[in-house]
Chain length 199, copies 2
Amino acid sequence: MPDELIAIPARSGKAAFVTRGQTVKVINTHGEQVVDTWAFSRADLTEFMSMEHSRAGIQRLIPAVGDAMLTNRRRPILTLLEDTSGGIHDTLMAACDVYRYQRLGCDGYHDNCTDNLAQAMRNIGLAPPETPSPLNLFMNIPWTADGMLSFEPPVSTPGSYVLLRAEMDLAIAFSACPQDVLPINGIGRTPTEAHFALA
Amino acid sequence: MPDELIAIPARSGKAAFVTRGQTVKVINTHGEQVVDTWAFSRADLTEFMSMEHSRAGIQRLIPAVGDAMLTNRRRPILTLLEDTSGGIHDTLMAACDVYRYQRLGCDGYHDNCTDNLAQAMRNIGLAPPETPSPLNLFMNIPWTADGMLSFEPPVSTPGSYVLLRAEMDLAIAFSACPQDVLPINGIGRTPTEAHFALA
């Protein structure tokens, strides 16, 4: 029986509880959607997946299959078990927020991953203690030898996925990034839904 | 008249208030000392210099002369005006903490930059709302084309410095990193003092 797919609606967030040892498959349903991803310990929400602690632990800019992402207390929280997406993700960029879209010239409110995180967590009865820097699945931020960074379209394909294993009881939260000014969700700049499944 | 030098004692932290428009010269006195650096808005300590927001703004892994580091609300907070140190700094690695030294095999308490930040802020009557990922001045974390990272000795020389301009009223905090297991403070693994001066 296939796992039940849970939608992360376009431009929106979605969170769920995951038990230690369960897996989470995050699917790039339409192939070009960045999915900002956070994980918080169920036992204490102030312990959460941290990009800056993970990079020190894995000594890579992007996690590879077999790598365990670490919390801000340096404990494994999510291990990358499989990746059919091409292996390009981002650990460098903050979640987008109202200030980002103001700087990009948008008038008025723009959906953003920071607010999506808060809303998704509220929907399962939680409040994030802060907005940790997210694991930006499928996001393509290449670097050069001299450290220049750019915002590029994903290399992933429709239906490709990453499989993560929970190393503690946790709340996982996703945002299907609403970025439609830069081409990080494809050159069509059209955010789409994505999906995940727990097993 | 030369600026008054303020010591950041070896393995310790030091904080100071800085007014918008003032400059802060951070001096690598003995040449091989990493200086973790944080900045918090005086008006609201929950607004602070953020590596993940800064990287999105400057589109570099390491700030270059002329770059403005951004807060978590995407406002300029510190601009890099001069750099005689060789231009190698780090924005990728979390401040060291008790968990880091436990993982590195240390028994008992080890001085660490996270606790140094808290102590330095307490000494000027403030409490940091969290431990933001620091700007690790003089820290040498090279990356490869395929994203591998390593912990290497600084390339800076005795007396070399960076000059920063405050873009808002702020509290700046430093930690002379007490790392003595990895060679990031030189192959001698001997943390030293550093200095700063306000003008």
